[in-house]
C-alpha cells in the first residue's frame, strides 16, 4: 500500500530531493519510483550517506602507508601494529541528535561508533569523546553538558568499553549547535578483518540485534503520517539506545566471527536497513532479495517504508554462507538476540524487497549507491576574514602582574580540569589503561605484548575560524604532540569534519581549506588518514559553527615501560621548555577572556619545527632523560606549567625564571605551537642540551619543581607568586562547580 501512493512534487521536496535529482531517478529507473523507493533514494542520496559535497575534497587526503590494512571506505580504518595484531578505529559525530536530546543523542552516538568497530571483527577497547558546547553562560549549556556526559557514561560504561580521553571546548559559536564526536578503537587479529560485503549467490542475509521500531524515520513526516492513522502523538524522531543489547550483540558478533562461513557484515547505521544492505551488495557487485515480513518488528503494522528506513539502534546485517544459517541462528539465540534470515544474495545487481508477497522495491543497486549527483560546490573566501585578520597589540595594556590572569584562565571551563567529566566514565575496565585520563594522551597496553597505544583527540575551533588551513594543521600537530608526549609514534589519523552549510560558498571554502591543511600536514608527517566522518549543516538560523575538523591520532610504542606523563614527579626536578615562544595571542583563550575578541592570525605552525620538537621529545623519553612532558596549548606556557605542577603524584610548586624581550602576556599566555614543557633530574641537563642542539630545537631551562608556591619571575621581576594549592583548587574544581550548579 505504501508502494501505491503517487509521487507528487511535494512528496519529492519533503524527501529533500531536488527536481534535478528526481529527474535523474526517473531516468535511471525509466519509470516513476514508488514511495518506498523514493524514501530509499532520499536517504542514500542525502549528504550524510552520499558525501556528495565532501567527497571530491576527501579524495585528496593521504590514505596509504605500509601499516594500512584498510583505509577509508569501510566501517572503520585498520592499521597494522605488528605481532599479528591490528587496531581498528574511527571517529563519528552525533551532533544534531545530541542537541535535540543530549542524553540519548550522545548515547546512541557511542553505540553507533562501537558497532562500526566491532563490525570489522575488532573488540572495542577504548573510546574518546570530543565535545563542543556553547558559552558556559548560555541558558542551555549546563543542561547539554550534563546530558551528553551522562549519555556517554550510561552507554559506554554499560557495554564495558573504557572512555579514556577526549576534549571539551566552550564557545558561543556552539550555542545553537553543539558537537558530540565519539572515537572508538578496537583490537583485532590482522588477518581476521571483516568487511561489509555481500558476495556469493544464494548466501543468506541475516538480521540480528534489536527489533525494528519506528525510530528516527526522517524526511517523511507527512508521508508517514498518512499511512499511520493510529498515531496519537507526533512520533519522536530521536533514537533511544539500549547498551545492554549492544553488549550482547558485541559478544555474539565476536563469537560468530570466529567462523569461516561469515562472508560479510555491516551495522545498520544512518538509513538503517537500506544503507547497510545496498552498500554490502554494491561492494560485492551482487543483487539482493529481501522478505521484509521476516524482519523482527517491535511494533504492529509496520510498513515497507518504515522497515527500510528505520534507524532503530543495535542492529546488524550479516551475510553467511548458504547451509550455515542454523549455526548462525544458534549463536545469536544463545545471546538472547532477535535474529532472522531476511534475504538472499542474487547475481543480477537488482535489489528486490517483498512485503506481503508483493515486490515493493525493485532498484538497480549500483545506481542507488553511486548515482547521487556529484556536487561541485562553489567556494569563496569568507568576507569576515578581511575584518578579523589583524590584531594590533600596541593598543592593548599589558597586565603588571599575572596571578589574577592565571587564576581566571585556570577557571575557564575550556582549560579547567575535566575530571568532573571523566570521573563519570569507566576509564579502567578491561585493565588496559596505563595512563588514565588527565595527561596529554591516554596510554593503553596491548594485551599479551610489550606494546602500548596512545590516543589523543584535538581541535581548537578559534584557530580554524581565523584560518581553517592552519587550524586543521594545528589540530593534527597538537594531537600528534599529545601522543608524542606520552612516548608514542603517531601511526594513524581519523577525523571528523564539523562545518556549517556547504551550500554557502564561504563555508565550503572553510571546508576545502581545512581538508587541505589536514592533508598537507599528514603527508608531511607521513601519517595516513584511515577513516573519518563529515558532519555538515551545523548551524542554526544562519549562524554556522566555527570550522571544527576534529582530529584523533593513534600512537604506538613498542615498549610500554617507556611511557611518559605530564605531571612533575618530585621536588627538585628541573623544568625546561622545548621550542620557542612567539607573540601568538590571536585566537587565544587569553584574548577571548580578557579582550573579549577573536581576531588576528592563529599561532604560527611550522611543520619542520613541529617535527623536530616532536622527534626530540620522543628521543628524550626513550633515552629516559626526562620525567615528564606536557604540550603547551590553550592558556599557553603558564597554564602548561601549572598543569604539570598539579598532575604529578602530589601537587608541587615551581620556581621559574623567564627572560624575554616580549610582552609578558604573550610570553606566558600566548599559544605558540611546537612547545613542550619537560622535567628532568639535574644530571640529565647536559645530555638534554646537547641533544636539543643537535636537533636544532631551542631549549631553555626555566627553573625547579617544589615548594608550596607557583612563582614566575620575568627579567628579574616577580610576575606570578601564588599558593599552588589555591591554584589547584581553582583548576581542579571549576568545571564540577559549574556542572553541579542547577541554575544561574
Amino acid at each position: 500500500m505504501t508502494a501505491s501512493i503517487p509521487i507528487t512534487p511535494e512528496i519529492v521536496a519533503e524527501h529533500g530531493l531536488s527536481p534535478e535529482e528526481y529527474a535523474r531517478i526517473q531516468k535511471l529507473l525509466k519509470r516513476d519510483p514508488n514511495l518506498v523507493e523514493l524514501g530509499i533514494f532520499s536517504a542514500m542520496w542525502s549528504e550524510h550517506c552520499s558525501y556528495k559535497s565532501s567527497r571530491p575534497h576527501l579524495k585528496t587526503l593521504p590514505t596509504e602507508g605500509p601499516r594500512v590494512i584498510q583505509g577509508p571506505g569501510e566501517n572503520a580504518g585498520v592499521v597494522d601494529i605488528g605481532d599479528g595484531l591490528a587496531v581498528v578505529f574511527k571517529i563519528e559525530s552525533h551532533n544534531h541528535p545530541s542537541f535535540i536530546e543530549p542524553h540519548q543523542g550522545a548515547a546512541t552516538g557511542v553505540g553507533g561508533i562501537m558497532r562500526d568497530v566491532f563490525t570489522m571483527g575488532a573488540r572495542p577497547i577504548a573510546l574518546l569523546d570530543s565535545l563542543r558546547f556553547g558559552d558556559p553562560d548560555h541558558e542551555k549549556t549546563r543542561y547539554l553538558l550534563n546530558g551528553v556526559v551522562k549519555g556517554i557514561a550510561d552507554y559506554g560504561n554499560c557495554v564495558g568499553v573504557p572512555t579514556v580521553g577526549g576534549d571539551i571546548y566552550f564557545d558561543a559559536c556552539y550555542n545553537g549547535n553543539i558537537l558530540v564526536n565519539v572515537f572508538c578503537l578496537g583490537l583485532a587479529k590482522a588477518d581476521r578483518i571483516f568487511l561489509g560485503n555481500a558476495s556469493g549467490i544464494g548466501n543468506a542475509l541475516l538480521y540480528v540485534g534489536s527489533k525494528t521500531g519506528r525510530d528516527g524515520i526522517h524526511g517523511a513526516s507527512m508521508a508517514s503520517a498518512e499511512f499511520d492513522d493510529a498515531t496519537e502523538e507526533k512520533r519522536p524522531t530521536v533514537q533511544v539506545g539500549d547498551p545492554f543489547t549492544e553488549k550482547l550483540l558485541l559478544e555474539a558478533c565476536l563469537e560468530i566471527m570466529k567462523e569461516d562461513w561469515v562472508v560479510g557484515v555491516q551495522d545498520m547505521g544512518a538509513a538503517g536497513l537500506s544503507s547497510s544492505s545496498f552498500e554490502m551488495a554494491e561492494r560485492a557487485g551482487m543483487g539482493l532479495e529481501l522478505d521484509l515480513d521476516a524482519v523482527p518488528q517491535r511494533e504492529a503494522g509496520m510498513n515497507a517504508y518504515e522497515l527500510m528506513l528505520s534507524e532503530s539502534q543495535e542492529r546488524m546485517l550479516f551475510v553467511v554462507e548458504k547451509g550455515h544459517e542454523d549455526e548462525a541462528l544458534a549463536i545469536f539465540k544463545k545471546w538472547d538476540l532477535d535474529v532472522a534470515v531476511i534475504g538472499r544474495v542474487t547475481d543480477d545487481g537488482i535489489y528486490r524487497a517483498r512485503e506481503n508477497g508483493e515486490e515493493v522495491v525493485t532498484l538497480p543497486i549500483e545506481a542507488v549507491v553511486t548515482g547521487a549527483l556529484k556536487c561541485d560546490r562553489p567556494v569563496q573566501k569568507p568576507a569576515y576574514l578581511a575584518e578579523v585578520g589583524t590584531l594590533d597589540l600596541s593598543s592593548k595594556e599589558i597586565p603588571a602582574r599575572g596571578g589574577e590572569v592565571l587564576k581566571q584562565l585556570l577557571a575557564s571551563p575550556t582549560i579547567a580540569s575535566k575530571q568532573f567529566v571523566y570521573e563519570q566514565y569507566d576509564h579502567m575496565v578491561r585493565l588496559n589503561t596505563l595512563v588514565l585520563p588527565g595527561s596529554d594522551a591516554a596510554v593503553l597496553r596491548v594485551p599479551e605484548t610489550d606494546k602500548a597505544l596512545s590516543l589523543a583527540v584535538d581541535c581548537n575551533p578559534r584557530y580554524g575560524y581565523l584560518d581553517p588551513y592552519i587550524g586543521a594543521q594545528i589540530a593534527v600537530a597538537e594531537a600528534c604532540r599529545n601522543v608524542v608526549c606520552s612516548g608514542a609514534d603517531p601511526v594513524g589519523v581519523t577525523n571528523c569534519l564539523n562545518f556549517g552549510n556547504p551550500e554557502n560558498p564561504e563555508i565550503m571554502w572553510q571546508f576545502q581549506e581545512a581538508v587541505r591543511g589536514l592533508g598537507d600536514l599528514c603527508r608531511f608527517f607521513d601519517i595516513p588518514v584511515v577513516s573519518g566522518n563529515v558532519s555538515l549543516y551545523n548551524e542554526t538560523k544562519g549562524e554556522a559553527i566555527y570550522p571544527t575538523p576534529t582530529i584523533a591520532v593513534v600512537g604506538l610504542m613498542e615498549d610500554r615501560s617507556l611511557h611518559c606523563t605530564q605531571g612533575f614527579k618530585q621536588a627538585g626536578h628541573r623544568i625546561g621548555l622545548l621550542g620557542s615562544t612567539l607573540e601568538d595571542l590571536g585566537g587565544s583563550e587569553y584574548q577571548k577572556l580578557f579582550w573579549n575578541e577573536l581576531r588576528g592570525q592563529p599561532p604560527v605552525l611550522d611543520p619542520k619545527t613541529e617535527r623536530a620538537v616532536q622527534r626530540l621529545c620522543l628521543d628524550l623519553i626513550r633515552q629516559r632523560l626526562i620525567q615528564s612532558a606536557h604540550d603547551c596549548s590553550e592558556g599557553g606556557l603558564a597554564v602548561a606549567l601549572a598543569e604539570s605542577c598539579f598532575t604529578g603524584p602530589k601537587p608541587l610548586g615551581a620556581d621559574l625564571v623567564l627572560n624575554s624581550g616580549m610582552r609578558a602576556d604573550a610570553l606566558l599566555f600566548g599559544e605558540s605551537q611546537s612547545r613542550i614543557v619537560i622535567s628532568f633530574s639535574e644530571d640529565a641537563l647536559p645530555s638534554i642540551e646537547s641533544l636539543a642542539q643537535k636537533a636544532g630545537v631551542p631549549f631553555a631551562a626555566l627553573g625547579t619543581a617544589g615548594g608550596s608556591k607557583f612563582q614566575i619571575r620575568i627579567d628579574g621581576n616577580e610576575f606570578i607568586n601564588e599558593d599552588i594549592l589555591a591554584l589547584e583548587d581553582i583548576w581542579e574544581n571549576s568545571l564540577s562547580r559549574y556542572g553541579n550548579r542547577v541554575a544561574g
Binding site: I100, E101, H103, Q104, S210, G213, R214, D215, T231, E232, E233, R235, P236, V238, Q239, V240, D242, F244, T245, R298, E299, S312, Q313, D336
Partner: protein, 82 residues
C-alpha cells in the same frame, strides 16, 4: 497540596527496561504477561499557592525538568495534602 506526576515514554519509543522486565517475568513463569512499560512516578509537595497556580507551575516543572518531552509524556493530578 500534592502533585502526583506520572512520566512515561511516548508511544513507539523503545522501552529497554520494560523489555528486560517483561522477559524476566516470562522467564519466572508469568506467561500471562504480555507487555511491560516502565515509567516514573513523582510526588511533589507544594505550599502557599492556589490550585490554579499549581496547575501552571507544575506543568512548567514537568516541561522544564521532570519530563524529557522529546521522548516522554507526563500527566499529573493535584490533591490536597494528606
Amino acid at each position: 497540596m500534592l502533585a502526583k506526576i506520572h512520566v512515561t515514554l511516548k508511544n513507539g519509543v523503545l522501552d529497554s527496561q520494560g523489555k528486560a522486565v517483561h522477559q524476566a517475568l516470562n522467564d519466572l513463569g508469568y506467561a500471562e504477561v504480555e507487555d511491560v512499560r516502565l515509567g516514573k512516578y513523582m510526588e511533589v509537595a507544594l505550599s502557599g499557592i492556589s490550585e490554579q497556580e499549581a496547575q501552571t507551575r507544575v506543568t512548567e516543572m514537568c516541561e522544564k525538568l521532570l519530563a524529557n518531552t522529546v521522548i516522554e509524556s507526563y500527566r499529573f493530578s493535584l490533591e490536597p495534602a494528606e
